[in-house]
């Protein structure tokens, strides 16, 4: 590793206090970033500043603290929008990707899906981008079609083409797979969707922390993402939607903040995005998410990309070379899922945990994908910008321990 890259990494790591935690008496090797990421001190400070100095609620008071909270919250929305390449009035703040997708499934789906219509999802989707479509299709009498993947874990575009016709109203796909780590060709899928008059929703939960996101360049119609997977707080996220689509969608949840006028027996609703933000939002969290995205943008993006690519390539190569290990698909970024011959993923995860290594085991909320790949479950190691070679070394040492226990 070059000296510059080493000093960048050391500086990045020094800002993340959780990396100093001792786990089971060992140095922490946090390789579960696809589940949730660790916050840097400036992000934690931003959240603490809200709790300390900005205690007001948003969108309802005229006193000084309410005004200050309003300004900070709407400023955070503008920041989040800027990092997505979007306009602030096209960004709905949600509790995460799951809520963002459910919002589209319920608000857009109820207005736009009917008997005979179809929704297409891929075979690699997280349950959050599958189950809401199952539910809304069942409710609306629509059909759910599954676009197959190849053995590498990539969406088969020719097979997708064969599923598309005028009945398809929406395609929903993950930008970056949370299991096989493949990157979907969003622009190509968007062109196919629009050619048949369908909309494209992208699940960006895993992509936001690793890829530069520009919703205009991607050509999609909805983009859903989470804060806590992008080095921000839990309970935060966003839905970007094209203004004309949001404007035509009925509300999903009802209550305070989303109404323009309320009489005893009826109400008039506000414009988007407020129409989709009933109730008091996660003010601390949203401001923390904006701080996290600003903090990420302030890092040298080329250095981060080069570091993540090198470490991911090493992780994938060394796992593939480990006796008994099968890497699932052909991961392109951030994530490597694998199995160990004859040892259940939970047993692998418990043993490497003794070496201070945090990995995910099980189905990673993607049961149909595991069935497609012919495995009951898997182990997943997932990277962030602050991971280093010692983290990968610790995982490999842990896997040697697995072989000893189950010799």
């Amino acid at each position: 590793m070059e000296a510059d890259a080493r000093s960048d990494l050391a500086a990045w790591r020094a800002e993340v206090p959780a990396l100093a935690l001792r786990v089971r008496g060992q140095r922490l090797a946090y390789l579960d970033n696809a589940a949730t990421t660790l916050m840097a001190q400036p992000v934690i400070d931003a959240v603490a500043r809200v709790a300390t100095h900005l205690p007001g609620n948003v969108h309802r008071g005229v006193h000084a603290l309410a005004e200050a909270a309003d300004a900070a919250f709407e400023g955070a929305r503008a920041t989040i929008a800027r990092h997505l390449g979007a306009r602030p009035d096209e960004v709905v703040l949600t509790s995460g990707t799951t809520a963002a997708i459910n919002l589209v499934a319920h608000a857009w789906g109820r207005a736009n899906l009917g008997p005979g219509d179809a929704v297409v999802v891929s075979a690699l989707e997280h349950h959050a981008n599958l189950v809401p479509w199952q539910a809304v299709c069942a409710e609306r009498g629509a059909t759910l079609r599954i676009a197959p993947i190849d053995d590498a874990g990539r969406i088969d575009l020719a097979a997708l083409d064969a599923l598309l016709d005028a009945r398809v109203k929406l395609i929903a796909v993950a930008h970056l797979s949370n299991v096989v780590g493949t990157i979907a060709p969003i622009a190509a899928i968007a062109a196919r969707a629009h050619a048949v008059g369908a909309r494209l929703l992208v699940d960006g939960a895993q992509a936001l922390p690793h890829l530069a996101i520009d919703v205009a360049a991607l050509g999609c119609d909805f983009y859903a993402c989470s804060g806590h997977k992008a080095y921000g707080p839990t309970g935060t996220g966003a839905l970007w939607g094209r203004a004309e689509l949001l404007a035509a969608m009925p509300p999903w949840q009802h209550g305070g903040e989303m109404v323009a006028a309320v009489e005893a027996t009826r109400a008039r609703y506000r414009e988007a995005p407020a129409r989709f933000e009933a109730g008091t939002p996660n003010i601390c969290g949203v401001i923390g998410l904006a701080a996290a995205l600003d903090h990420a943008a302030a890092r040298d993006r080329a250095a981060v990309a080069a570091h993540e690519a090198r470490l991911h390539a090493r992780l994938r190569r060394d796992l593939a070379a480990t006796p008994g290990v099968r890497v699932l698909g052909e991961p392109e970024a951030a994530v490597v899922a694998f199995t160990v011959a004859g040892v259940h993923p939970h047993d692998v995860a418990t043993i490497v945990d003794q070496e201070g290594v945090c990995v995910r085991s099980g189905l990673h909320c993607a049961e149909p994908l595991h069935a497609r790949l012919g495995v009951d479950a898997s182990v997943r190691a997932s990277l962030a910008y602050y991971n280093d070679d010692a983290d990968v070394d610790a995982l490999l040492a842990g896997l040697a321990r697995v072989r000893e226990v189950f010799a």
Partner: protein
């Protein structure tokens, strides 16, 4: 001994690698299946009960080493017991894996005492309890 080695005692690894009473049970008169939808593990226990006593027990399923070993070891432990003694054995195993990490291991558990290491791994209790619940449902069925 590390916690991981305490968890994966030789007895448990042996039952995982060489499960006893594994496969369908000829003449079974009761069966129960319990799964864990979070991880996809599933254990089926089958029993043949003669005059109120477990005459034979077998298991099938898929899962981690703890789930498999629990299925295997329970079929051994329950054979020859009447319903009261069998329930008591299942209750004792559940109490063992749910106990505080440093609680004393009760006498009389026999081979099942190997699961004492699970006390340090709260997230892995459920792996053992799949087989316990299947066996309990079977005895009650």
């Amino acid at each position: 001994m590390s916690d991981a080695l305490a968890l994966y005692q030789a007895t448990i690894v042996d039952h995982d690698r060489h499960p006893r009473n594994h496969g369908p049970l000829a003449g079974a008169d009761r069966a129960a299946t319990v799964d864990n939808p979070l991880c996809g593990d599933v254990v089926t226990i089958e029993l043949r009960v003669d005059a109120g006593v477990v005459a034979a027990a077998a298991w099938t399923g898929r899962g981690c080493a703890l789930a498999r070993a629990a299925g295997s070891m329970l079929t051994v432990a329950l054979a020859g017991l009447d319903a009261t003694a069998a329930h008591a054995r299942l209750d004792a195993l559940e109490a063992l894996v749910c106990a505080a990490p440093d609680a004393p291991v009760p006498d009389g558990l026999g081979e099942l005492a190997a699961f004492a290491g699970v006390r340090r791994f709260a997230s892995r209790r459920g792996c053992v309890l799949i087989a316990v619940r299947a066996a309990r449902a079977c005895l009650s069925g």
